[in-house]
């Protein structure tokens, strides 16, 4: 027969301060754990949504990012004419030849410079990325020194409002629009006309090109053809793979650091749970004796104390998750180690993260409560009754 659940729950309630302090310790650990996972999920979501499923990115062989890459005009022409490339409404090929460089801008707030991606975009660039929508102003006109900025650039960097002038490469560029890229990496970019930007940066080759496949199944043959063509020294990836590869180093860093910290911190919180549960057992020796005398088995006593510590863990987990869910209101920005450019992303709480955080909290409660529960279960009835 099991000891009633209400007995267990009321024990926690009777010793509110102790329960609260212990659960608070657990909550802080869960908060750190959940926040790190949310950060990683946000980073992945940002970079995965940056890519479209049917799009491929072509870069120079050996280059890992668009910044390092270069594609000459004749190479771009050869790739553009490949039959795997989709043909758009007006009969034009769905290809955007782009030039990607970094410029350094001053962050709002601390006035420190940070690298920002500036993308020379062509007529097809917007069409190839349906998630990019103009939020304010108008698109840049080809052939002019006009640029549009991503929403997180506009929010975080000085002098990037509509009508502002940004000076680089011996020209003043006018911001004419702000675009929203639905939380993808493009939000941390500035776009302008590719020919204008290449001229002012004195470059004669593109950085990368993006093409829409006529049929998603053509990817392998397209890639093989580009690899085999002696005129080309390029390689291609699916756009989604390309961008998620760029998050790998940062994601590993966040995960390793965050999980190590969570494990170390959990030791502290588990000790807290253990102290509380030992005290809970010590204060109730007489009660335990009475329960045993009434006929409850050792296993029932063990179960009751384990449930008590699990409940405490659950309370801590819920508090920690509640705290962590507020982090969704903020965003985080850092330099991506691989592209060397500033990247801003949000904290994303997924059901999976919530479940893992609660499981983690329960595990901490269980680990802290196990030894005290065993001690309670092993008490001798006579000794326990005498202690009361």
């Amino acid at each position: 027969m099991n000891i009633p659940f209400s007995y267990v729950a009321r024990n926690l309630w009777t010793r509110r301060l102790t329960t609260l302090l212990t659960a608070g310790g657990l909550a802080l650990v869960v908060f750190v754990f959940a926040t790190v996972m949310m950060m990683d999920a946000g980073l992945k979501r940002t970079l995965v949504t940056t890519g479209e499923r049917d799009n491929v990115v072509v870069i120079r062989k050996g280059a890992e990012t668009e910044i390092q890459s270069g594609i000459s005009r004749d190479q771009a022409g050869v790739i553009e004419m490949h039959p795997a490339v989709a043909i758009g409404a007006a009969g034009t090929r769905m290809v955007a030849k782009e030039s990607v460089v970094l410029i350094s801008l001053l962050r709002r707030g601390d006035e420190k410079p940070s690298n920002v991606v500036i993308r020379g975009a062509s007529a097809r660039s917007l069409e190839l990325r349906p998630q990019v929508r103009l939020a304010a102003g108008r698109p840049f006109r080809p052939g002019t020194s006009e640029i549009i900025v991503g929403s997180s650039i506009a929010a975080r960097f000085d002098g990037t409002g509509i009508g502002d002038q940004i000076r680089f490469a011996q020209r003043s560029w006018t911001v004419v629009g702000i675009f929203d890229a639905a939380g993808s990496g493009f939000d941390s970019e500035i776009w302008g006309d590719v020919e204008q930007l290449m001229q002012s940066f004195r470059r004669n080759s593109y950085s990368s090109m993006v093409a829409r496949l006529a049929d998603p199944g053509l990817f392998e043959s397209f890639r093989a053809d580009v690899g085999a063509d002696p005129r080309l020294s390029n390689e291609m990836k699916r756009e989604q793979t390309f961008y998620s590869d760029q998050s790998r180093a940062l994601s590993t860093f966040i995960n390793v650091l965050g999980l190590t910290l969570s494990v170390i911190f959990s030791i502290g919180a588990m000790i807290g749970a253990m102290i509380t549960m030992y005290a809970s057992v010590a204060n109730r020796v007489g009660e335990i004796g009475t329960l045993r005398a009434l006929g409850f088995r050792r296993s029932s006593v063990l179960g009751a104390f384990l449930v008590e510590s699990l409940l405490m863990g659950l309370a801590g987990g819920a508090m920690g998750l509640a705290l962590a869910s507020f982090m969704q209101l903020t965003s985080f920005s850092t330099v991506n180690f691989q592209t060397f450019a500033d990247l801003s992303f949000r904290f994303v709480l997924t059901p999976g993260i919530a479940a893992q955080s609660l499981l983690f909290a329960l595990a901490m409660g269980l680990a802290g409560g196990f030894l005290p529960a065993v001690r309670a279960a092993r008490l001798n009835i006579v000794d326990a009754l005498r202690a009361a």
Binding site: L21, Q170, G268
Partner: protein, 384 residues
């Protein structure tokens, strides 16, 4: 004195609870110290930078180079002693995870960097071999590079596979210097690029300038930038330290997050400690009432509880602080050179001590006030 003795005795009454709390404190103080050291390690490069050197780069951003012709004009600026060309190579050795910094530098590099020591023989061997390279001691130890090894690097910025022969291993003049980088001849890079065509030759990533008098660094920096004002490639010149700090600032939210998290662990242990103290105080209500009956004032009770809390924190904090330097050394070994400089600073130790004291005092406040306020009759009536 009397109260301290009683406080120590009290702390030892519940051996299991005190031991657990002390273990928790050790873990927390240790974790706090290590996290602070991680943040310090981030800044190690900037701290090692000399204020006698300036870095000149393209004003647009680091991805744009400067023409090689600028070298002679920079040399002509008043107050400039020496100029070194430097290009970031960005090659991959075996696997992208095995990252280390590679620079193509002009041959006078070591004149500007006296903190890196190379034997005369090694220097001569390097100068004689166009494909020769030099590796830092820490880098050589991490990947087992030896003099005479041939290192193939796959270029990410400069296409192709490049082969270099290790001609020497340079040492740091003292242990604060990071020797995790790889150097080779700028001329080798440039000649190869010239052969490849494509117009990428004769470009320099950045110029490192030695200033005759470090006090004039700012003036020299302004003079260099003024020389190239309104040219095709305008320059940005700053001290080496500002240049390094600029890199760190780009990831400053990560550093801020680590800092915040290091205080979270202190909060966790504060909750544990406060719990321990409130339990102790609750168990001893009757004793405190007895003490009051005997004529001891509430101040004495506060002193007792505060003393007990501080004794536990002093033991836990002390052990945690003592364990920090050896753990940091082990951590440095274990992570295999991700943090070439990983030493615990005096400031970190002081902050650990301050945190331990703060935890001891704050954890005791609520139980101490409650115990001091308890009425004698109620206290005597209470059962543990």
């Amino acid at each position: 004195m009397h109260a301290l003795k009683l406080a120590i005795r009290n702390a030892l009454r519940h051996k299991l609870r005190t031991t657990l709390t002390v273990v928790g404190l050790i873990v927390a103080v240790l974790a706090f110290g290590l996290l602070q050291t991680v943040v310090d390690a981030w800044y190690a490069g900037a701290r090692a930078a000399s204020n006698g050197r300036l870095v000149t780069r393209n004003a647009i951003s680091l991805v744009f180079p400067l023409p090689v012709s600028y070298e002679a004009r920079i040399r002509g600026v008043e107050g400039v002693n020496a100029v070194v060309r430097s290009n970031w190579f960005g090659g991959v050795y075996q696997d992208p995870k095995k990252f280390f910094a590679q620079f193509a530098v002009s041959d006078n590099y070591f004149d500007l960097y006296p903190e890196f020591v190379l034997t005369e023989a090694e220097r001569r061997d390097w100068l004689r071999d166009r494909k020769g390279c030099l590796v830092g001691r820490q880098l050589a130890e991490r990947y087992g590079f030896k003099v005479g090894d041939v290192l193939p690097l796959r270029g990410t910025i400069f296409p192709g596979t490049w082969e270099f022969v290790v001609r020497g291993i340079f040492e740091g003049a003292d242990d604060t210097k990071i020797t995790m980088h790889f150097l080779f001849h700028w001329d080798y890079l440039n000649e190869s690029l010239r052969k490849a065509g494509r117009g990428r030759a004769d470009q320099v990533g950045m110029y490192i300038i030695g200033v005759a008098n470090p006090d004039n660094a700012a003036t020299v920096a302004r003079a260099v930038d003024a020389t190239f004002k309104n040219s095709l490639a305008e320059t940005l010149t700053e001290t080496e330290q500002a240049f390094q700090l600029g890199f760190i600032a780009m990831s400053n939210e990560i550093i801020a997050a680590i800092r915040i998290v290091s205080y979270v662990v202190i909060l966790i242990i504060l909750a544990v400690m406060a719990n321990t103290m409130s339990m102790s105080a609750r168990e001893r209500i009757a004793e405190h009432a007895t003490l009051k009956t005997l004529g001891f004032g509430p101040g004495y009770i506060v002193l007792l509880i505060l003393g007990e809390s501080c004794v536990i924190c002093a033991i836990g904090g002390g052990l945690g602080i003592a364990a920090t330097p050896p753990t940091a050394a082990a951590f440095k070994q274990f992570t295999g050179g991700i943090f070439p400089i990983f030493t615990v600073s005096g400031a970190t130790l002081a902050m650990q001590a301050a945190c331990a004291v703060a935890v001891g005092v704050i954890a005791a406040i609520v139980p101490a006030v409650q115990a001091a306020r308890v009425r004698i009759v109620e206290g005597l009536r209470a059962i543990g």
